[in-house]
């Protein structure tokens, strides 16, 4: 059952083969058993969760079910959920019980989905390994000595370890796709503006976008049907007609033009990962797709541009955490300045502070033009690269991450090496384009572990339904997405 698709689970619920309470309890039991090791969830509230499951059963019995009614979903701890501790992975918000719901949470509530709990994440979504979380790292379910990726590491591990039916994530520079790649499941970052950011704790406002993390493209499509939609409370939410993201799943791929950017296969890409991606492309050829060589010449600049823009926005977004109205206030202080400086020094972890300092620096007097303005100009060049590319192809493919999951602790002391994890994902955030990661096989590590590899699919603006179609067709002829780590054996022998 834990491996069943959302569609199957919905059918089982509709046919009364199982109740939402039973389904939810199955996951809660599994969380009880595995979460102490994996640390995917950082807030659980069985009473609240089961109350939602009971309400879902009533709704199903009354015949008002939606496709996600009664389905247990893990929520990244970046979404404010009323009455839930919402920490964003930070000591700063260790005791913050959200007094309101994020738009995404409301959408799931309205659909009758069950909130299983809040998942671990890099602090304020700043990280690519989940190691910056105040609440400890998360184990990659494929190999507990490795990281799940980040920042949505808890949601990633929860999906991979089948600790939820599906999960939500957010992606500012790759935080859905890189962990999806490292943990072997399907994740989608929609076009910027498709999912409301209201109630989603801001990291870098112009780049942050929420999306689904699930076992298949089809599941992602069903999740998107709930998550996407106009919200007047977010000025950047796009007012578009409601879409059914499942509508194109079954279209054949004959004649699909796949662009392969040469920059995504250059130096820096792990050879094992490269091989898996090549095999995946070969599979697409069999499905009737055509391959087009393209170039995204400014790809290399996406990291420097990102590490100006994201910290700049973050330094300002995180100024509200001052210990005055909520969040951490230092225990002892002499005056206002002392209270500010200590509360923030204690409440934020090292990586968050680093980014606040970088952001403060690049915006400070005399540097704005050289850094912020310059980065915004190159951002346009990067977006123009994609615009040119999409004149030649329908989707762009490549790796989602340069390597498979790395060992915990391996990159913590080298921020620049950590930042390079997002080399293939960041440019889509800068352009505002949708991107996804789809399981495409395994690569064996030096220590003999078979680790998942994700194929990245980048679409043009608002092409999510087509990307899901492209992924779904691949998942009809491969079973990489259906593979799950065997967690019933003792750790280390999986």
């Amino acid at each position: 059952m834990i491996n069943s698709s959302l569609k199957t689970l919905a059918q089982m619920l509709a046919n009364k083969e199982i109740s939402s309470v039973e389904l939810t309890q199955t996951y809660l039991n599994r969380i009880d058993a595995l979460n102490p090791t994996i640390n995917a969830y950082i807030a659980l509230d069985q009473d609240k969760t089961l109350a939602q499951a009971k309400a879902a059963d009533v709704r199903i019995a009354a015949g008002n079910a939606t496709p996600l009614t009664g389905i247990p979903i893990a929520q990244k701890d970046i979404f404010c959920a009323q009455g839930w501790k919402t920490t964003c992975g930070s000591k700063m918000l260790e005791n913050f019980i959200a007094p309101y719901d994020a738009h995404v949470i409301t959408q799931f509530d309205n659909a009758g989905a069950v909130n299983l709990g809040k998942t671990n994440m890099d602090e304020f979504a700043m990280g690519s390994s989940n190691e910056t979380s105040y609440f400890g790292g998360v184990k990659n379910p494929w190999d507990f000595s490795r990281v799940p990726g980040g920042s949505s590491g808890g949601s990633a591990a929860a999906v991979a370890a089948r600790l939820c039916a599906a999960a939500t994530g957010t992606d500012t520079g790759g935080s859905i796709r890189q962990p999806a790649s490292l943990c072997g499941f399907t994740g989608l970052k929609p076009t910027y503006g498709v999912v409301s950011r209201y109630g989603m704790i801001a990291f870098a406002s112009s780049l942050d976008q929420a999306g689904p993390m699930a076992k298949s493209a089809e599941d992602c499509a069903l999740m998107m049907n709930v998550m996407a939609g106009f919200d007047e409370r977010d000025s950047t939410s796009l007012n578009r007609d409601k879409e059914d993201y499942t509508r194109d799943l079954n279209k054949p791929l004959q004649g699909l033009k796949i662009g392969l950017p040469k920059e995504f296969f250059a130096e820096g890409l792990d050879t094992g990962v490269g091989k898996v991606i090549e095999d995946a492309i070969a599979e697409y050829k069999k499905l009737g797709a055509e391959i087009v060589d393209i170039s995204l010449p400014n790809t290399g600049l996406s990291i420097p541009v990102y590490y100006v823009l994201a910290p700049a926005e973050a330094s300002s977004n995180l100024s509200r955490y001052d210990g005055v109205r909520y969040g951490h206030r230092t225990a002892e202080y002499t005056d206002l300045m002392d209270m500010y400086c200590k509360s923030r020094a204690e409440g934020f972890g090292a990586e968050v502070k680093r980014r606040i300092l970088i952001g403060t620096y690049v915006l400070s007097a005399g540097y704005y033009d050289a850094y912020y303005l310059k980065a915004q100009q190159i951002r346009r060049l990067i977006a123009q690269d994609f615009e040119e590319a999409f004149k030649k192809c329908d989707v762009i493919m490549g790796p989602a991450a340069p390597s498979t999951a790395f060992k915990a602790g391996e990159k913590v002391d080298d921020p620049v090496a950590m930042y390079l994890q997002d080399i293939y994902t960041i440019s889509t955030n800068l352009a505002g384009l949708p991107g996804m990661s789809v399981p495409a096989g395994f690569s064996t590590s030096a220590d003999g572990k078979a680790l998942p590899v994700g194929l990245q699919i980048i679409g043009n603006y608002f092409d999510e339904a087509r990307m899901l179609n492209v992924a779904h067709q691949y998942q009809q002829v491969t079973d990489w997405h259906a593979q799950a780590p065997n967690l019933d054996k003792p750790e280390g022998t999986a």
């Binding site: 007094p99 202080y333 400086c341 502070k353 606040i356 300092l357 620096y361 190159i378 505002g432």
Partner: protein, 104 residues
């Protein structure tokens, strides 16, 4: 751009983050690496390129001037921090948030 620990402390002060001297030194080496990465941008000629703030070319939507919010002071002040300096009380009094005396 070479930074000094003095610069780090100045930036940290602007950002209201306390850093000790030893922290400043450690932070300096990491920030220098990151700024080195950022410096790659300077090689690009961006003359005449319009900066990009948003990915979609859309304009600000306007909200009708109608009151939609109700008083939620009680709920919001339940999550106020502890006062500190020995007091475990919430940092609120008579509906006001309490902070160390503000001097102009």
């Amino acid at each position: 751009m070479a930074l000094s620990t003095e610069d780090i402390k100045k930036i940290a002060h602007l950002a209201r983050v306390e850093v000790s001297d030893s922290d400043a030194a450690a932070t300096l080496s990491k920030l220098t690496g990151i700024l080195g990465l950022i410096e790659q941008m300077q090689a690009v000629n961006t003359d005449g390129i319009v900066p990009m703030s948003h990915s979609q070319d859309v304009v600000q939507r306007l909200r009708d001037d109608v009151v939609t919010k109700t008083n939620q002071r009680e709920a919001f002040q339940k999550i106020s921090p502890e006062l500190g300096n020995g007091s475990k009380e919430h940092a609120v009094d008579s509906g006001l948030y309490l902070v160390p005396k503000v001097i102009e």
